[in-house]
């Protein structure tokens, strides 16, 4: 795995490898000393062209827990037409010796361009690009679902498992959502059945070939008893004429597509509720639903750090160049000793088996 730009880069084995590595990382995060020496001396740049405090903090935490040096580059407003171009920013970071660039950008495809234009040799991690992809969000969602719905005694994180047989409903603004696109691809790769639920105005023209079913009626889908319900953030400005007028009013949206206590009660006992955050309480999700025991929303945040640690580890310590160096080999025992499943997963998470990961 050279970059992580899209969940379509991951085949089933590669996706499970990331999730299993994340499980090992998560295990270390229960300790009092959370920091691992794995990426000591490596530099991770968080290049954020768009505000996203929570994603940036999550990546920053992940990199620091792996002992990487972290540089936060908030480039909001310096889009191409005014100020520095993406190209010059990339050349600058390359000159400064960035080993990985975590990029959030409002333009779909910007991480792809950064990775392939020849401007930098750094590994590129897509932290959300326009309406395209947000692969680490989908990975942390899959990690959370797998842990809750496939884990059991002796294997609480469901290590080694995929999501075959599970039914996941993804509800809300699919049209503008990179989270939805990443999740559809990854959940399908892991064997889950996906149903997209949205008003027709918030589904893309061209959704047909996606490996997902589509419904306009939330109640009908909930009646099927999905194992997980993933609520997407709906931006209030989508209802204004300037924002496109995608639905008549927030109240109507909530009535038809909001997850409230009544709808929550119709779900099977084992079903869980996810939300990528930040939530619009009272719009797509009520306080009752958000704060219920089924909601795993806060846990998603914690899992986000573990998943991002795993991604940075596999990208930076997982290539042949550095696998044999002291920091990387030092990291594997650290992982192993902390892992509940012994040394085997730690070594499978290591470099040699990741070579074929990119599609």
């Amino acid at each position: 795995m050279r970059h992580l730009l899209s969940t379509t880069d991951l085949d089933r084995a590669a996706a499970i490898r990331v999730l299993d590595t994340a499980a090992q990382m998560a295990a270390t995060q229960g300790r009092q000393i959370k920091k691992l020496p794995t990426l000591r001396g490596r530099t991770v740049v968080n290049l954020f062209f768009e505000d996203s405090t929570r994603t940036r903090i999550s990546f920053e935490t992940a990199a620091k827990r792996l002992s990487a040096d972290v540089i936060n580059f908030s480039a909001k407003g310096s889009s191409v037409s005014k100020g520095e171009s993406l190209k010059d920013t990339a050349l600058t970071l390359q000159a400064m010796g960035a080993d990985a660039i975590v990029i959030r950008h409002q333009a779909s495809g910007a991480p792809h361009t950064l990775a392939h234009a020849g401007w930098t040799e750094a590994a590129v991690v897509n932290a959300g690009d326009g309406m395209h992809q947000h692969p680490t969000q989908a990975l942390l969602d899959a990690f959370t679902i797998r842990r809750h719905l496939t884990g059991g005694p002796g294997n609480p994180d469901g290590v080694g498992n995929d999501l075959a047989g599970l039914h996941v409903a993804v509800v809300g603004d699919v049209l503008h959502s990179r989270v939805a696109r990443s999740n559809v691809d990854l959940l399908h790769t892991l064997g889950a059945r996906v149903t997209l639920v949205a008003p027709p105005t918030l589904l893309p023209v061209g959704v047909g070939p996606w490996p997902a079913e589509v419904s306009y009626r939330l109640d009908d889908v909930l009646a099927q008893g999905p194992d997980a319900v993933m609520m997407l953030r709906v931006q209030r400005e989508r209802m204004s004429t300037a924002g496109g007028g995608f639905f008549p009013s927030p109240l109507e949206y909530t009535r038809l597509y909001g997850l409230d206590a009544r709808r929550l009660a119709t779900l099977p006992d084992h079903s869980i509720v996810l939300h990528p955050g930040p939530m619009n309480r009272g719009l797509e999700i009520s306080a009752d639903a958000a704060d219920s025991p089924r909601a795993v929303i806060v846990e998603q945040v914690a899992n986000g750090v573990a998943v991002r640690m795993a991604v940075l580890y596999l990208l930076l310590a997982g290539d042949g160049d550095t696998a044999g160096t002291a920091p990387a080999t030092g990291a594997v025992p650290a992982l192993t000793s902390a892992s509940s499943s012994g040394s085997t997963p730690a070594t499978t998470a290591a470099p040699t088996t990741t070579a074929g990961a990119t599609a």
């Binding site: 191409v80 792809h112 361009t113 392939h116 023209v205």
Partner: protein, 450 residues
């Protein structure tokens, strides 16, 4: 100064090999008489072995962005027309979206004069329909028509004349001087922020969609307006199967509408966007394979009257960036004929006579351009292009004559090569090379790189 040229064993369109003598700015003789006449010719006779080559009337582009005045960093009138000559053109229509806009007699005369000075092709400025392309007030169409530039084609290209009343008035007004409104059909509200064709690919890669209906709705409205007021309408760069159907229907009703397709819409699809390379970002966007098939069929059956390049040069900085930040447009003057050969002639859909019709005769007629798009016959002005259909070449944008490198065909092998272009008997291109005149002070000044 002007040499005489004897083209030996050349095929005129699809005809049998013959000889053609170009002299005195005219097609002086055809057949055995050409050789006889050449024997009595002065020393400056240039004999070209044209075995296997095809002679077409000089190409006429109804849709070229020369960028001057305003964006001379992307193209100048001299560099753009030199590229046009290299592509086999003898006349181009310079679109109005310059800075300042070509919306007054003064600006169109400036463009016309710079074109004449450059001497590579005839330059016919297109006049803006509305002042500053703002879509609010009619520009002084009559003044532009009566100017030295004799403007006959009016367009806000780059923007749609979306106000139906303004469009109606423009269609009516230009009847006074036999003008035509060339519409960039793009419903603006349906395409706010649009980046690429709306469909399966846009849904997957997350770029805002430019729906086919935004083009088709305007074309449908405009053909009905043209019918209502009895005016002439030209549809720029038609790109969808639905648009072909609407134009076909309009023509069947006798509406005076003509339509163009670009070379890139004949050969490329929205699948190209998957790599987010902005060289494939264009307006209207690349569509689906079904649309490509439909525009090819429409061109072959005459529903689409012409191929026009929409040559849109852009600087590197306007394309060397993320997709959403990049400019719309791609170059095309030097590859248009090859694309038409590849997609239409080599596939058996069209003859060379058809190529002459869609790249010369029809655009000259629509633009009311005199002396171009004429039959190749004795006594006609020698506006000609000599093509070798057997040669193949790989597109290298940096080696093209245009000042910009945003060709979407980089690295592709295309059939056909322009061997020579003649503008009123003067060779602007020989052996595939633009014939720069070292004595011309413009080259000495470095304005044009030979």
């Amino acid at each position: 100064m002007t040499a005489q040229y004897l083209l030996k064993d050349v095929r005129i369109l699809d005809g049998e090999p013959t000889d053609v003598l170009v002299a005195g700015g005219l097609v002086a003789a055809i057949g055995p008489e050409a050789g006889d006449a050449a024997e009595n010719a002065p020393d400056d006779l240039d004999v070209i072995d044209a075995t296997g080559m095809v002679l077409l009337p000089g190409l006429v582009d109804l849709h070229t962005h020369l960028r001057e005045p305003g964006r001379e960093d992307a193209e100048t009138i001299a560099s753009g027309t030199r590229a046009a000559a290299a592509g086999g053109f003898t006349a181009v229509h310079a679109m109005a979206n310059t800075t300042p806009t070509q919306d007054t007699a003064g600006v169109v005369e400036q463009v016309w004069r710079l074109g004449a000075q450059a001497g590579w092709t005839d330059v016919h400025p297109v006049g803006a329909v509305s002042v500053g392309l703002a879509g609010e007030h009619l520009a002084e169409l009559g003044a532009m028509a009566d100017s030295a530039a004799r403007v006959r084609v009016f367009s806000d290209d780059g923007k749609c004349v979306h106000d139906p009343v303004l469009m109606r008035r423009a269609l009516e007004y230009v009847k006074a001087f036999d003008g035509v409104i060339a519409q960039h059909a793009q419903e603006p509200r349906l395409t706010e922020g649009a980046q690429m064709h709306e469909g399966v690919v846009s849904a997957e890669i997350g770029l805002a969609g430019w729906p086919a209906v935004a083009e088709e709705a305007i074309i449908a409205r405009d053909v009905l307006l043209a019918e209502h007021v009895g005016s002439r309408l030209h549809v720029c760069h038609l790109s969808t199967a639905g648009s072909v159907e609407i134009v076909r229907w309009a023509k069947s009703r006798g509406i005076d509408v003509t339509a163009e397709v670009t070379p890139h819409h004949l050969v490329l699809t929205d699948e190209e966007a998957r790599g987010y390379d902005p060289v494939f970002k264009v307006n209207p966007p690349l569509r689906t394979q079904a649309d490509v098939d439909a525009v090819r069929e429409g061109l072959a059956d005459g529903t689409i009257d012409i191929v026009a390049t929409d040559h849109a040069p852009h600087t590197r900085e306007d394309k060397d960036c993320e997709w959403a930040a990049a400019a719309f447009g791609m170059t095309g003057l030097e590859t248009a004929l090859s694309v038409v050969q590849q997609t239409m002639v080599d596939t058996g859909r069209m003859t060379w006579a058809d190529v002459a019709r869609v790249l010369s005769t029809n655009p000259a007629r629509i633009g009311r351009v005199e002396g171009h798009g004429r039959p190749i016959a004795v006594g006609e002005p020698a506006n000609l292009v000599l093509v070798d259909p057997e040669q193949r070449r790989v597109v290298e944008p940096e080696r093209q004559a245009t000042a910009s490198a945003n060709s979407p065909l980089r690295g592709r092998e295309l059939p056909g090569r322009v061997v020579a272009t003649f503008l009123r008997g003067r060779a602007t291109v020989l052996d595939g090379v633009p014939q720069d005149d070292p004595a011309d002070p413009r080259f000495a000044a470095g304005r044009v790189t030979p």
